[in-house]
């Protein structure tokens, strides 16, 4: 069904858009000038990727919805991003923990998507993975340095990683959309990403002298099916204001 692919593309785009939006809330408020620059860089990369996914999704849907209509004129229940990426910024440790879990998954996913049977998907993945390998290196490196840093940085990183752990399970759970994508060799089976993700995450935890949260912890889910946490609505109200308040205007 073309609907499945449309849904899959929205999931990719929404993850990138929502995380980029969160990161851009840090503008000018990071803990060091170098971080301001690096974080904005990641936000920009993700925003660019979101635009590529939305452009394709819009074309595929054939209803003349462009990237802005997809980004600014859908309400929360039509967003398909992971719960993880909509979680509030919290402290910088929380922001880094969110980024680290996401990058680690995003990287292995994109790696598989470069082999997609859909040439356009493979192409977008190819373009994105260079940026995302940098994201992956950066967030892993910071987790290591802060985990193995001072007593305070260690305990803050550990707490942040523990807190967000319950939002990681959703990355590896398949639904009908995923099954269709896997059947058509458009995307990997979500479960197949778990082993490489865990190996990478585990490696970084070890190097960072941090304790991996329990494997059997309860995992939240729903974002990819449009059932979000209470945070997304506020994020969208802010992000979408101008398009909503001035319908049809050109900017």
């Amino acid at each position: 069904m073309p609907d499945d692919k449309f849904n899959f593309l929205l999931r990719m785009g929404d993850n990138a858009l929502v995380l980029s939006q969160r990161l851009s809330q840090w503008c000018g408020k990071g803990p060091a000038l170098e971080e301001d620059i690096a974080l904005t860089n990641v936000a920009l990369d993700l925003l660019g990727q979101a635009r590529l996914w939305f452009a394709y999704a819009g074309e595929l849907e054939g209803k003349d919805r462009d990237e802005d209509q997809l980004a600014f004129l859908r309400d929360a229940h039509d967003f398909r991003n992971l719960l993880l990426v909509e979680q509030p910024n919290g402290t910088y440790a929380d922001t880094l923990a969110r980024q680290f879990y996401f990058d680690s998954w995003h990287y292995f996913l994109l790696q598989e998507l470069t082999k997609s049977s859909d040439a356009r998907v493979a192409d977008i993945a190819e373009k994105s993975i260079k940026e995302v390998s940098y994201h992956l290196r950066r967030s892993g490196d910071l987790v290591v340095r802060l985990g193995d840093g001072s007593e305070q940085s260690r305990s803050m990183m550990q707490a942040a990683l523990d807190d967000l752990w319950m939002y990681t399970g959703e990355m590896f759970k398949a639904d009908a959309v995923d099954e269709a994508m896997t059947a058509q060799s458009i995307a990997p089976a979500p479960a197949d990403l778990h082993a490489p993700w865990l190996a990478h995450v585990q490696g970084i935890f070890e190097e960072a002298t941090l304790v991996l949260p329990p494997a059997n912890a309860w995992m939240q889910q729903g974002g990819r099916q449009g059932k979000h946490t209470e945070h997304l609505g506020y994020l969208l109200a802010e992000m979408q204001f101008l398009q909503r308040a001035y319908p049809g205007a050109q900017w």
Binding site: S24, C27, P31, A32, I37, N41, F72, G149, S153
Partner: protein, 315 residues
């Protein structure tokens, strides 16, 4: 004048750059630290008024351009702090002076950004004025500063064009959008003119700075240039510059413009602008909230250094 002092001034007069290891007058060094750090602080604080709209940018393309612009500003801050550091002061010390209120940043950032059109007006008017201020500095006497300014100016001219492009879109848009653009021009026009500083007659350090070639044109000359450049642009947009006294003088080939309300300028400088308190608090808060992060990275670096020294023993 000592022989060193004479040689120093002769180099400047001959257009030879002063470099960090060269002998320099203490007053020159101090003036430069003040000027460069103030400029660096402005880039950093300047992220905030624009950051205020990045989460509400109306299209993904505009959001992307704005984000990239803010990133550039952080980058400018970085070059400029580095340039200041060549004069023997640390970035941490400069930031401490910013946070304590001892050091200044450009007063323009003490005005609020109240609509999306302000992203246009800031690019067009504020960055436009900054460029006019900065282009001469690419030829200033202090090498690291001049080189930093070359990089900065290149990017700033993009920003100014992007700002004008936002204004253009609004002015071609709905009546509400055009009204937004006019309102932004109304609010940013006079503060932008004030960015060049008081009239030369009032400016105390100008003569000395001119002699050292770290100030190459007078405040009034630069301001006139800004007005001459900007008024036709406003006309092209179909916007009205909020100055009833503005008129073209055929003879001089310049625009005449009304009296600037310098009491407002002084008042904002004193800390009474709409956002002085908030801007500084935001920066101080960011710095304090980030202490654990910087400490953590330092602790890690120390451990790594210690481990490296221990490796031979362990082996």
């Amino acid at each position: 004048m000592s022989p060193e002092e004479r040689a120093f001034q002769e180099k400047i007069d001959a257009g030879v750059k002063i470099e960090p290891k060269d002998w320099m007058l203490e007053g020159y060094r101090k003036t430069l630290i003040r000027q460069i750090s103030q400029h660096a602080h402005s880039e950093i604080v300047g992220q905030l008024p624009e950051g205020n709209w990045v989460t509400r940018a109306p299209t993904l393309k505009r959001k992307s351009i704005l984000l990239a612009k803010i990133q550039d500003e952080a980058g400018h801050g970085l070059y400029l702090y580095s340039a200041a550091e060549t004069l023997g002061v640390s970035r941490d010390q400069l930031l401490a002076d910013l946070h304590s209120g001892k050091a200044k940043y450009s007063s323009i950032f003490n005005y609020p950004t109240l609509s999306w059109a302000d992203m246009g007006a800031i690019g067009w008017l504020v960055d436009g004025s900054a460029i006019i201020n900065q282009i001469p500095l690419c030829r200033c006497s202090y090498g690291p500063y001049a080189r930093a300014m070359i990089r900065v100016c290149k990017e700033e001219s993009f920003h100014a064009r992007q700002g004008y492009d936002i204004m253009m879109a609004l002015c071609k848009g709905t009546p509400e959008q055009k009204q937004m653009a006019q309102d932004a021009l109304n609010r940013w026009w006079w503060p932008s003119l004030m960015m060049f500083g008081p009239s030369d007659a009032e400016s105390i350090n100008s003569a000395q700075s001119a002699q050292w070639r770290i100030k190459l044109f007078s405040n009034d000359e630069l301001r006139q240039k800004m007005v001459d450049q900007t008024v036709p642009q406003a006309e092209y947009l179909g916007l009205t510059v909020p100055d009833p006294d503005l008129k073209w003088n055929e003879e001089t080939g310049h625009y005449e413009f009304g009296e600037i309300d310098w009491s407002e300028f002084q008042n904002v400088l004193k800390g009474n602008g709409p956002c002085n308190r908030e801007r500084l608090r935001t920066r101080v808060q960011a710095w304090e909230d980030g202490a654990w992060f910087r400490d953590g990275l330092n602790a890690y670096a120390d451990k790594q250094a210690a481990r490296k020294t221990q490796v031979p023993q362990a082996a």
